[in-house]
């Protein structure tokens, strides 16, 4: 049984493939997408707990636009931004748009993994709150 689900979005396919493999090995339900458009399509079909999103993707939608769309489709999914140094400013903008955190590339999985876990925890807490709220809500009318 997987711990939680992660969507990895990056135009570097080798990177996506390897990261997905490594996450899967750590019993995480990981799926890769080579572009913002593909990511949104996947998100339309199913839910992801955490999205790891490259901020700079040449051609098509860039990270920030994708982030905004994700927040519309699945507001509860937590997004971690991947950034090169030249785009720190846009990662700050990403934080404003509701990203959970950002990390500088290249990053070791040992450093990235705790952040994914934190993101999931946050989402989980959020979900639990919603669940208990729902329970309380139904209890009231019970």
């Amino acid at each position: 049984m997987e711990l939680f689900s992660v969507l990895v979005v990056d135009d570097e396919e080798d990177f996506v493939e390897t990261l997905v493999n490594r996450l899967k090995k750590r019993t995480i339900d990981a799926v890769g997408a080579p572009s913002g458009e593909d990511a949104l399509e996947l998100l339309g079909n199913r839910e992801f707990d955490v999205v790891i999103l490259d901020i700079k993707m040449p051609g098509g939608m860039d990270g920030i636009e994708t982030l905004k769309e994700i927040k519309k489709i699945q507001p509860l999914s937590e997004v971690i931004l991947l950034t090169g140094h030249a785009s720190v400013e846009s990662s700050i903008e990403g934080m404003r748009c509701g990203a959970f955190d950002y990390v500088l590339k290249p990053i070791k999985l040992e450093e990235l993994f705790p952040k994914i876990a934190q993101a999931f925890e946050k989402k989980d807490v959020h979900n639990q709150k919603i669940r208990s709220a729902k329970i309380q809500h139904s209890l009231r009318y019970w």
Partner: protein, 553 residues
């Protein structure tokens, strides 16, 4: 190469200036001299012409007077009266006392017989019928002879007048005293070389000239050259140079009165003027040459200085341009390296993950793989560090301004490095000015600069040494100097210290980006960073930070 350019330029300028200023001066001098000389000569000619004319007129008057006297005697006396020796002697003495210059007096009958004679020679009874002058007198009534020897064998000339008395005619003839006549002519002589004499139509001397020849000898003058009016000719004489001759024809006999003068003597005044002019021009030329050479040299040396300054400035500009270009290139290279690096890091991680699954019994080299992967990891980390720094450089855009106390910043930086220094037995001494203003600056970036400089100093010394850190204000700057007593930077490396990746440290210790980043930070803040270094004595890096006061909140 360059020096010869300056020398060529200097030569050209000097040449042009000299030609432009000297040629007109010489032409002007020459023209003035030429004109002046011509005027002077004209004046001399005029003068000598005038003298010739005046003297000729004087001689004419003299001769006319003698003729008048003779005519008077002839017309007022009869032939019979005059052949009376006593009477003739009386008349002769009256003539000589009133007019003078008569040597003798004779009465000649129309057959040429001398009927009466009064004078020092024994000429009575001589017959002149065959003489040329006798015929002339009979024909013309009045005759003045050329100078000749005659019966008395002495040079003389005569004046004779014809008297018509009833049917009979006779001639009164007088000889003129050359001792009286010649001085009249000679009085026109001037100076040391001037001469005055009379020649007849054939050019034979009628009076004794001062130079060149004897009475009655032939002169070298061609009398045909002289016109009716007073005229001047110029002739060259081998020894005396140019000689001016002014000639004027007398009215009565066909005699030419000549006044001559050596040009050189008359021109001596002009020569003085010419010499003065030449001296003035030569001095002027010297002054022009000297001033031109001096000014041109001064100008060229100034030009050289300016050129050198511009060259130095250009070199500095090129250096900072080069550093900026290197920075941009470094950043883009780093970026390009970063992308594959991202993948490689994950791939290595993946291999590590997979190796854990291998059975140690079945995989022969498992340990070796693991060791290799950890080595690759270690070196990837090094790449990551360099790329980090490079991209960090590119990222560092505008500095953030806050109130900064430079001394405090220095103290904090020293605190960070103190342990490192103590371990290596390096003493850090500070001399911080207490009157530094608080300035608006980016503290983090300044600290970065100080950190780089102090840690460089420590690394340069390596063991046992002294680092001095000084802060002070100068003009509108805060100046921080960090000096060490390390080995110093060799001359050939000094130009490169601010270049990225230039390092003298071991690869493990430094990336060669510290000074480059510090240089860039200071440039962006409007400050400077310079250094002085001597091999064996150490290096001193000086940071100049502009004083900008923070806005009051």
């Amino acid at each position: 190469m360059k020096a010869s350019l300056y020398i060529n330029l200097q030569r050209k300028i000097i040449l042009i200036v000299l030609v432009v200023s000297l040629v007109p001066l010489v032409i002007l001098g020459g023209t003035i001299y030429y004109q002046f000389a011509r005027m002077y000569k004209d004046k001399i000619e005029e003068q000598i012409k005038y003298r010739a004319k005046a003297q000729a007129e004087a001689v004419d008057v003299f001769l006319k007077e003698r003729i008048a006297l003779l005519n008077t005697v002839a017309c007022t006396h009869t032939f019979s009266e005059l052949i009376d020796e006593k009477r003739l002697s009386e008349i002769f003495s009256v003539m000589n006392s009133k007019g003078g210059a008569f040597v003798d007096l004779g009465i000649i009958k129309n057959n040429g017989q001398q009927a009466a004679y009064m004078g020092p020679y024994d000429l009575l009874g001589l017959n002149y019928y065959e003489q040329r002058w006798f015929g002339e007198v009979v024909r013309k009534g009045i005759f003045i002879s050329d100078v000749y020897f005659g019966y008395r064998q002495l040079p003389h000339f005569i004046i004779a007048v014809l008297r018509q008395e009833n049917r009979n005619s006779w001639i009164l003839r007088a000889t003129i005293d050359p001792d009286v006549f010649c001085p009249i002519v000679r009085s026109a002589q001037m100076g040391k070389t001037g001469d005055a004499y009379i020649v007849n139509v054939a050019g034979v001397y009628q009076t004794q000239p001062r130079f060149d020849g004897k009475l009655l000898s032939k002169s070298h003058l061609d009398t045909a050259l002289f016109g009716r009016e007073a005229s001047v000719i110029e002739q060259k004489d081998g020894q005396k140079g140019e000689i001016l001759y002014a000639g004027y024809w007398l009215k009565t006999p066909r005699w030419l009165l000549v006044v001559s003068q050596e040009v050189a003597e008359e021109m001596s005044g002009l020569l003085v003027t010419r010499n003065v002019e030449i001296i003035i021009i030569v001095l002027g030329l010297l002054a022009i040459v000297m001033v031109t050479v001096f000014m041109t040299r001064l100008f060229i040396s100034r030009l050289r200085e300016t050129d050198n300054k511009i060259d130095t400035m250009n070199a500095q500009l090129m250096h900072s341009d080069k550093l900026a270009a290197l920075g941009k290139m470094g950043a883009s290279v780093a970026h390009e390296i970063n992308n594959p690096l991202v993948v490689v890091v994950q791939k290595i991680g993946w291999m590590e993950d997979l190796l854990d699954e291998e059975d140690p019994q079945k995989t022969k080299n498992l340990e070796e793989y693991k060791k290799t992967i950890s080595k690759i990891d270690y070196h990837l980390e090094r790449i990551r560090k360099v790329v980090h720094n490079m991209l960090g450089y590119a990222r560092r855009m505008e500095p953030r301004f806050e109130a900064v106390d430079i001394n405090e910043t220095l103290d904090q930086t020293i605190d960070l490095l103190e342990n490192y220094a103590l371990v290596n037995n390096i003493n850090i001494q500070t001399d911080l000015s207490s009157s530094l203003p608080i300035i608006a600056n980016d503290k983090a970036q300044l600290q970065q600069v100080f950190l780089n400089l102090i840690s460089n100093a420590i690394d340069a010394i390596s063991k046992d040494g002294l680092i001095e850190i000084e802060s002070r204000t100068a003009d509108s700057h805060i100046v921080v100097t960090i000096s060490d007593d390390g080995p110093g930077i060799p001359k050939d490396q000094q130009r490169r210290v601010f270049e990225p990746f230039f390092t003298t440290k071991e690869t493990e210790k430094g990336t060669g980006l510290g000074l480059w980043i510090s240089y860039d930070i200071m440039e962006k803040m409007g400050g400077t960073i310079i250094f002085e270094s001597k091999v064996g004595e150490g290096s001193a890096f000086t940071v100049k930070i502009p004083v900008v006061l923070p806005e009051k909140e």
